[in-house]
């Protein structure tokens, strides 16, 4: 058993038993925090697909999280008001609304990523970073002024999405559902990375010219990955909306994109599991520092700088003591 497998096994046991531990210690907040970590972990891991495997540095990933969240918020609003368009009205059964809402959220985020990606991928390098940021900011201001859906005030959900078999309004059920989504994503993503598609993408990320010279139309593969990552971020957004039962334009702000990037780097870029570790460390640090000082950012800032300077490959490779090669 490699250290990585051991780590994953222990993590799995820990995560499975966490709800029981939270209840025994009379600390249900722990569960809510853990769910949030899982959701941010999912968003960060989806960004890792772009950063670590596709060599596409997107500073606008929050946009897709936000769109996923807004899809949930908007559908819930109409569900509550009972004015869903007829095509969707069939699915307005409150015990199974999630079956329609969650996929629609993913679809909406994927579509946005497809369109934005097609435009952004005309550029490379620094320009790509900035144009992804520009589109995210554009959407941010769009949602701020979108009065029908709360604008800057955001939208509150009256309840979480309904799903058969699980009751998301129950925090334990919700936690397990988030865990399920994350594990499913990680499984599919690690398959994807080693699939034909993933191999070609990793190649294109490593050496674009060479890949083109071998006959790969790198643009199409990149766009496909951008769309997949966007859709996955949309799922994270949909879960986040359900978790806080609230959506607001703040989710699309560039600071969230920055934080997701920080989680990826902190955990270990190009490792898929690392960003989840990164999300956990970042959120726990924030939570922990916040408890001792209201000036927690004055500590978080230097910590990030130190992390960059000294833990170059991120925490996950350090944790499983594996050295990743540098490209």
């Amino acid at each position: 058993m490699t250290r990585k497998q051991l780590f994953l096994l222990l993590a799995a046991i820990f995560l499975t038993l966490l709800p029981a531990a939270a209840h025994l210690s009379g600390n249900p907040y722990l569960l809510s925090l853990a769910s949030r970590i899982l959701i941010y972990g999912l968003a960060a891991a989806s960004l890792d697909l772009l950063l670590g495997y596709g060599a596409m540095i997107s500073l606008g990933h929050a946009a897709y999280v936000g769109i996923g969240a807004y899809a949930v918020g908007i559908l819930h609003l109409h569900l509550g008001a009972g004015d869903l368009p007829p095509a969707l009205a069939l699915l307005a059964d409150s015990t199974a609304s999630g079956l329609a809402i969650l996929p629609l959220a993913v679809l909406a985020a994927s579509l946005a990523a497809l369109v934005i990606g097609a435009l952004c991928l005309r550029t490379t390098g620094m320009h790509f970073i900035m144009i992804t940021l520009a589109f995210a900011q554009m959407l941010y201001y769009f949602f701020i002024s979108l009065e029908a859906y709360g604008g800057d005030d955001g939208l509150s959900l009256m309840s979480r999405s309904g799903l058969p078999l699980v009751n998301l309004d129950n925090d334990t059920h919700f936690y397990y559902f988030c865990l399920f989504c994350l594990v499913l994503f990680l499984y599919l993503a690690s398959r994807l990375v080693h699939s034909r598609f993933g191999l070609i993408l990793r190649g294109a990320g490593d050496n674009e010219r060479r890949a083109r010279g071998l006959g790969v139309n790198t643009g199409r593969y990149r766009l496909a990955l951008f769309t997949i990552a966007g859709g996955s971020a949309g799922l994270a957004g949909a879960l986040l909306a359900n978790h806080s039962e609230f959506v607001s334009p703040g989710l699309l702000n560039w600071t969230l994109s920055g934080e997701l990037m920080v989680m990826v780097l902190l955990g270990g870029i190009g490792t898929l599991f690392g960003p989840v570790v990164g999300a956990a460390v970042y959120l726990l640090l924030e939570e922990g520092l916040n408890m001792y000082t209201e000036h927690w950012m004055a500590y978080m800032g230097p910590l990030l700088v130190l992390a960059v300077l000294f833990a170059r490959n991120g925490l996950f490779p350090l944790l499983i003591s594996e050295r990743r090669r540098h490209g």
């Binding site: 780590f7 009379g26 009065e147 005030d153 916040n290």
Partner: protein, 386 residues
């Protein structure tokens, strides 16, 4: 692997199990301490703490513990903190939220979950009207109050052509609606600016071009500072008078705006020069403790604490929402505002004033000019079915 286990232990220590036995009554304050608006939360917190300090850490003779957390003006963050207060610390009484959008994200769920929420600032219309709730009390105002008073005053002053300006987000539109409710004249123009816009040169040029009798604006925080300064610099300060709610003219902002604000009239439910014993005591103590003149936010924080103290005294220390609710509703305390009672929607029925920015020794401050509304009831009270 050992590292991992130590890590997990450390994690567990971060979340000690809570016990509820004979502890002081916990009050959770979710407020904005960071970002550009950080001073607002500071004022509310300081006002609240001052009332606690007066009793030596107690309220109404009951030991209380104030937990303060920074929501960074983000609704998501406010949600998280509320959840942590409720689930981890077992807090049953919360207060402190500065911004309406944070309140809208946090409050409805809290009050459904049987937590008492006493608003020390934000008073969104939804919570005054259809969304009112027995567990929700606004100790400050309903948002529109401070605009309504200006609308009334501007009409009385005989300005027949007023230009309106607010950021392009729902609160901005609400505030302008509040003004229009009592303003009877013509509207010269209505402009919505980008949220967090810094430079208003383009809007000011347009205003000059429109030649209105007066300008009413709602631009909270730094936006207001920028606008007022640039407005004065453009030479419009003398020719077209500015009006607005108190938010851009509290004592701490005045220090940053400086002379540009001189003479501007603004609407507020409180000023430090209100002549009543409670207020004199409050202002004096606040100045002594914090070496500055309190703002309306501090007064709201102080009043919130006094209200809670009065209720705790009546229940004899029982902090269960069911016990506190009727006691709170009586509003049996000496508010620094003078007249204070709760309406049917548990929002204040109070007097509202127009104040003017004047020079004080070494700085600028507000002087009460006129009481425009007496025992004013907000516009949404009728919609509340409680």
């Amino acid at each position: 692997m050992k590292k991992l286990l130590t890590g997990l232990c450390a994690l567990a220590l971060l979340f000690p199990a809570t016990s509820f036995a004979a502890d002081p009554v916990k009050i959770g304050m979710i407020t904005t301490l960071s970002t550009k608006a950080g001073y607002l939360g500071e004022e509310i917190r300081d006002g609240f703490s001052l009332a606690m300090a007066k009793e030596g850490g107690k309220l109404g003779g009951v030991a209380v513990e104030l937990l303060v957390e920074d929501d960074e003006a983000k609704p998501e963050k406010g949600k998280q903190i509320a959840q942590r207060f409720a689930q981890k610390d077992g807090v049953k009484i919360m207060t402190g939220i500065v911004f309406s959008n944070v309140a809208m994200a946090v409050v409805p769920k809290l009050v459904r979950d049987e937590v008492l929420y006493l608003s020390a600032n934000a008073g969104p219309s939804e919570l005054a009207g259809k969304g009112c709730h027995p567990n929700y009390f606004s100790v400050s105002y309903q948002n529109d109050n401070l605009d309504e008073v200006v609308g009334q005053y501007v009409t009385e002053a005989g300005h027949g052509n007023v230009y309106l300006l607010a950021p392009n987000y729902p609160a901005g539109k609400d505030h302008l609606a509040g003004f229009k409710r009592y303003y009877k004249g013509n509207i010269a123009g209505e402009v919505y600016t980008k949220l967090d816009q810094a430079d208003y040169a383009a809007e000011i040029a347009t205003i000059r071009d429109a030649k209105p009798d007066a300008v009413f604006f709602f631009l909270p925080g730094g936006m207001g500072i920028n606008f007022v300064k640039q407005y004065a610099q453009a030479g419009l300060g003398g020719s077209i008078p500015l009006y607005g709610p108190a938010f851009s003219f509290d004592e701490r902002l005045l220090a940053a705006v400086g002379e540009a604000a001189l003479g501007v009239k603004n609407g507020s439910q409180w000023t430090h020069d209100l002549d009543n014993p409670a207020n004199r005591e409050f202002v004096e103590n606040f100045r002594k403790t914090y070496k500055r003149t309190p703002t309306l936010y501090a007064a709201q924080g102080y009043d919130t604490a006094l209200l809670l103290a009065s209720a705790l005294r009546q229940t004899g220390g029982k902090a269960e929402p069911a016990a506190l609710r009727p006691a709170l509703k009586k509003a049996d305390f000496a508010s620094v505002r003078g007249n204070f009672a709760f309406g049917a929607n548990q929002h204040p029925i109070q007097d509202i004033y127009i104040r003017e920015v004047v020079r004080s020794d070494g700085g600028f401050t507000n002087k009460t000019v006129k009481k425009v509304f007496t025992k004013h009831v907000d516009a949404y009270a009728a919609e509340c079915k409680m």
